[in-house]
């Protein structure tokens, strides 16, 4: 009950509704948990409507409809319609796979505000290979249809060592498709991307070359296309302000109703993340152990605790600290002040050796079989 009267708790702004872990694609950098197949239960339409209503009441306004592939939920239109009535700005985050013009129109009628389509690469061969499914041409058509029906179109391309050499072509593709926004998301190494890191992490030279190309393009299309560039934090010397601070802004609800302070938080031990079928969103946000776990600065160790930058980056990412150092309370090892920065440098070095070696290990694709093996 500690949080109920705590004036330092800000309202959530972002609700990420992961409607399902089902997905027709198999991207090897998926942010879903490795053992997603063990969480196959999905909460009902009525549960989602209740979650949306309760989260809106305490301040959430941006709604991400994600997954897995949210289009596999047949009640997507009903959920979107409910969101619109509540005043959410709803973002459909989709692979585009299986999206028909009829459904694009039905979602528009229901009140959907925007569709983000992801494409894996600028060439059909590579995009289909990474998706594990023949989907490239279909995705491009979907992008055209999204524009045709008056949605702002966000094209998302996840960047890693397999496609970073295509940066110039990816930008040309975004221009050709008429993207209003282009999200160049350098892979974040959680979930499946963590497992595949040695095959996905580009070298520093590759990053620098790609970033130069993207920067020049950004200036060229200023006023026409907005570029969101998700930074590759392994090559930074300060960590990202993960989630804008734990329990300050973001609320994720997983397909089975588990509420998470960030979409990777399932990987952290001992948080006892609450379920929306046991508690209201207000109770979860304000009172639950999980959402209070890393709120504020009390939990921090040195060098974070006495650092004059702690209010800027909040000690970085808890999941990254845990995955790399085994201690979720540690300073994010990305930080050059961390005594464990060598973990990042070693990861970079191992990935570099892997890139230069002749017998690179194959990617582990995100699918049910590999998910069950990984448990």
């Amino acid at each position: 009950m500690a949080g109920l009267n705590n004036p330092n708790i800000t309202p959530p702004r972002w609700l990420l509704a992961e409607l399902t872990y089902k997905c027709p694609l198999q991207c090897p950098y998926c942010s879903n948990p490795l053992n997603y197949a063990a969480h196959s239960h999905e909460i009902s339409t009525e549960d989602w409507k209740r979650v949306l209503t309760q989260a809106r009441k305490i301040g959430a306004v941006q709604l991400g409809l994600s997954g897995g592939e949210p289009l596999t939920r047949q009640d997507l239109e009903e959920i979107v319609s409910h969101a619109r009535q509540l005043g959410y700005y709803s973002n459909l985050i989709t692979s585009g796979y299986g999206l028909t013009e009829e459904r694009i129109m039905a979602l528009k009628t229901a009140g959907l505000d925007h569709i983000q389509v992801s494409i894996q690469a600028s060439s059909a061969d590579l995009s289909d290979h990474l998706a594990g499914t023949k989907s490239f041409e279909h995705k491009k058509q979907v992008a055209h249809l999204v524009k045709k029906h008056g949605y702002p179109m966000v094209l998302c391309v996840v960047i890693h060592r397999e496609n970073i050499h295509q940066m110039a072509d990816i930008l040309a593709m975004a221009e050709e498709l008429g993207a209003d926004y282009l999200e160049l998301a350098n892979t974040q190494y959680y979930g499946w991307a963590h497992v595949n890191r040695n095959a996905l992490l580009p070298t520093k030279e590759q990053f620098a070359a790609a970033e130069n190309i993207a920067q020049a393009f950004k200036e060229k299309v200023a006023g026409k296309m907005k570029i969101y560039y998700v930074v590759p934090d392994f090559y930074e010397d300060r960590p990202k302000a993960c989630m804008n601070g734990w329990g300050t802004t973001f609320l994720t609800i997983a397909p089975d109703g588990v509420a998470l302070p960030c979409h990777s938080a399932r990987e952290l031990p001992g948080l006892d993340c609450p379920n929306v079928n046991d508690f209201s969103i207000e109770e979860i946000w304000k009172e639950s152990k999980a959402f209070n776990f890393f709120r504020g600065f009390e939990w921090m160790q040195e060098p974070c605790r006495s650092c004059d930058e702690k209010a800027k980056d909040f000690g970085g990412c808890r999941c990254q600290a845990y995955l790399l150092s085994g201690d979720m309370n540690a300073t994010d090892p990305v930080c050059s002040k961390s005594t464990q920065r060598h973990l990042i440098d070693e990861a970079i070095s191992v990935a570099r050796d892997s890139a230069l070696s002749a017998d690179e290990k194959p990617l582990i694709f995100r699918n049910n079989k590999n998910s069950r093996l990984g448990q």
């Binding site: 309202p11 702004r13 305490i58 301040g59 306004v61 941006q62 991400g64 005043g87 700005y89 973002n91 505000d113 925007h114 983000q116 008056g150 949605y151 702002p152 966000v154 209003d180 926004y181 006023g223 907005k226 969101y228």
Partner: protein, 90 residues
Amino acid sequence: MPINPNLPISFSPTHRLQWEEAQQRDVILYPEGMVELNHSSAEILKACDGTRTLAQIISDLHKKFNTSGLENDITHFLEIALQNGWIKQP
């Protein structure tokens, strides 16, 4: 970006302007983002209804708030709004 004085100004069809009860302020919503507005910025944007030019918007706001001398502030704000894609001109 300069405002064309001869053309009407409308709020962007790919953005949404709405009152947020929880924040007690108007906000602009767009893909994966939000801008929180102060009262005067919100009033200027609400006047961008696609029928009025810059001069008409300035004159109407002067009348509405029984004041004058806001030409530079309103013009400057709308230039930023145009650059950010919040408003458009045909």
